[in-house]
Amino acid sequence: MIKNFELSKPTTSLVSHEICGTIHVVGADSHNIEMMSNVVSKMDSTKTMFPYSVKDDDGQSVGLQNGFFVYVKNILTQEVYVAKAYCDEEVTQADLAKFIVSIELDLKRKLAYNIRCLAVNSPELCFELLSSGDNVKEILARPFGKAAGPSIFGVIRSAFQSREKQNDFVQISEQVLGKDASRHDFIDNFVDLCNAIYNKEGKPDQLKMADKIVDRLLNEICNHNEAKMVNFVREHSQDRTFFKNFVYECLDPEQLSSKAQVTIYVRRKSKEETISKNLGHYRFFTEKGGVQKPLKFGRELSNVYMLMYLIDHVKEPERKQPIDLKRNVEEFKKLYRDLFKDFSNDDHIKDIVSEYFHRKDKYGNLRSGRKSEYIDAIRKTMQEQFEEYNESFLPYIMTGNSHLHVPVDKIVFEEDAKEALLSYNFV
């Protein structure tokens, strides 16, 4: 079984391109080698990047006892890599299959990244390359499979119409995001975004609007004010969800959390206050620079949900995964009862919990639950309020696949509520 796989630059520069695709098998007997040659001969070479072949090797040149190595090249950049797989016991045909698929997936990801960068830095060259008749185009036209990542080659339209815009973009994204991996992700998303905008071909008004959006986004990215960006997108874009996701994806809440200045307070309602329909017996506040504002989410369950995350974040600040409600139904019910003092019967809460996961439409068909609605309500309220503070709200919200990122000292449970709230344990 393959224990370790790596694709790296070879240490020697004397690798001939002709040997690319010859898989060197280390630690297999002659019968096994024959079986592997049989596997390779049965493969469809039009579906793989190279016509593979198998060869016996002692593995000394790369320091292998059991495993495979092969030289491969990136067809776009012509860079040569060596792919190595270490096995803890004698290699099998299944290991060979896994090795080949791993190489191809890694190369495809590299290729996709190269093309995206090329599309950003030099669209003309990218167009030229993809419209050329050579084997690059042929290989790129092959289905890559979902395992290689999201759609890759639909990006090339006139994503950037002028050289100035391209330069601006590269410069700004470097300033804001540095040159690390997050910038790469950003570039990936940005080109897809532009593609989505410019795909609306033949409608000059929309293209004009798209131009404005790109300009505005570039400016806003420079100022790093995602609240304004989201607002702008919400007002103007034709495809809100896409823009919203884009903005959330390209900004890292963990980084932003170091700059967080707003504190969230949770306390029990005082005797003078009435029981709120949505907030029950608790109250949320946000505070920055001595200014306090009440925080109230539009949906009853959003308040319970937020409180659940706040408690869990205070107790387990290192947890990155969202809370799985299915495993915490009992604690959730307890918290709900505590908030709303609803001890009448269990049915109401049962309905709430089941609707969280799925519910039925008017035709009786099953549709997705209300989870996204609860999260959206939290996001909307936070966004509006944090805009007034001119602060980033992203560290303060959870998403479908992430927990809160706010520093723990920015969450305060007041004395009257602390003991009760910290008694909850979510797993």
Binding site: M1, V39, D44, K47, K98, V101, G145, S368, G369, G400
Partner: protein, 250 residues
């Protein structure tokens, strides 16, 4: 040999290697919703997945839907026990087998490797392979399941039955070739699937291209025709079989 054990052995054998009659007339069991729920809970744990939602009032016999909710994949299994039974998944083992198939889809998140020209086919073959291997490992009889998948025609979403059957059999053979005490990892099964895929993809793609037109219209021409066997002469074997079965039930 004790009669009960012998009958049990015959039953097991028939389930492992089933024909048309075994599938539709023998070894029928009532599969209750509670049983399906329990199996779903067990398989969720086995595959290391969150327990999917279940809807028992679906129009289709059994299917899984993967919804992307705020970046989190949430699976929902739609099941109609009556229709499932009509399709031949009429005992506990067959139902568990089909659940294994759906869980394999959830496990892979619908990801494919891009070697097969029709991505749906690749995903189905993956699920057949995984399901068959898991069933064998769990000692679940897969005769009905294999008969049913092997009997299907090629459509845009499902490959030709012969390939599915070949895939399921390869997976079974792989598990049976392992020493009985060895631990089976899902990753290893995936590697075996890749081997199957790479060595069979040429055939599968050729079939796809040769029958493209036929496959595209496969679903259009699929009309359910009920055959009234009673109109056939008494010498008809199926008619005889049905009559005998009815008599036994009475």
């Amino acid at each position: 040999m004790n009669d009960e054990i012998f009958i049990g052995f015959l039953k097991w054998h028939r389930r492992e290697d089933a024909n048309f009659f075994d599938v539709f007339f023998h070894d029928k069991e009532l599969v209750e919703k509670e049983y399906i729920k329990d199996e779903i809970a067990f398989l969720s744990e086995f595959f290391g997945l969150n327990e999917p939602n279940i809807d028992f009032e679906s129009d289709s016999p059994l299917e899984v839907r993967l919804n992307d909710i705020q970046g989190e994949i949430v699976a929902c299994i739609n099941c109609n026990t009556k229709k499932l039974e009509e399709c031949g998944f009429n005992n506990k083992d067959a139902v568990v087998a089909s659940l294994c198939h759906e869980f394999s889809h959830i496990y892979s998140h619908g990801h494919t490797y891009g070697y097969c020209d029709n991505e749906y086919w690749e995903a189905e073959l993956y699920a057949d392979f995984m399901a068959s291997a898991v069933m064998t490992a769990l000692n679940v009889a897969g005769g009905k399941y294999r008969y049913l998948i092997g009997d299907g025609k090629a459509t845009l979403t499902h490959p030709y039955g012969e390939y599915r059957l070949r895939c399921a059999k390869t997976a079974r053979e792989y598990i049976l070739s392992l020493p009985p005490t060895s631990k089976i990892a899902l990753e290893d099964i995936e590697s075996q699937f890749l081997l199957f895929l790479l060595t069979n993809v040429k055939d599968i793609n050729n079939y796809l291209h040769d029958h493209e037109e036929q496959i595209e219209h496969a679903l259009d021409s699929k009309e359910e025709v009920k055959i009234d066997y009673m109109q056939y002469p008494d010498s008809n074997l199926i008619k005889q079989y049905i009559l005998k079965h009815q008599q036994n039930n009475d």
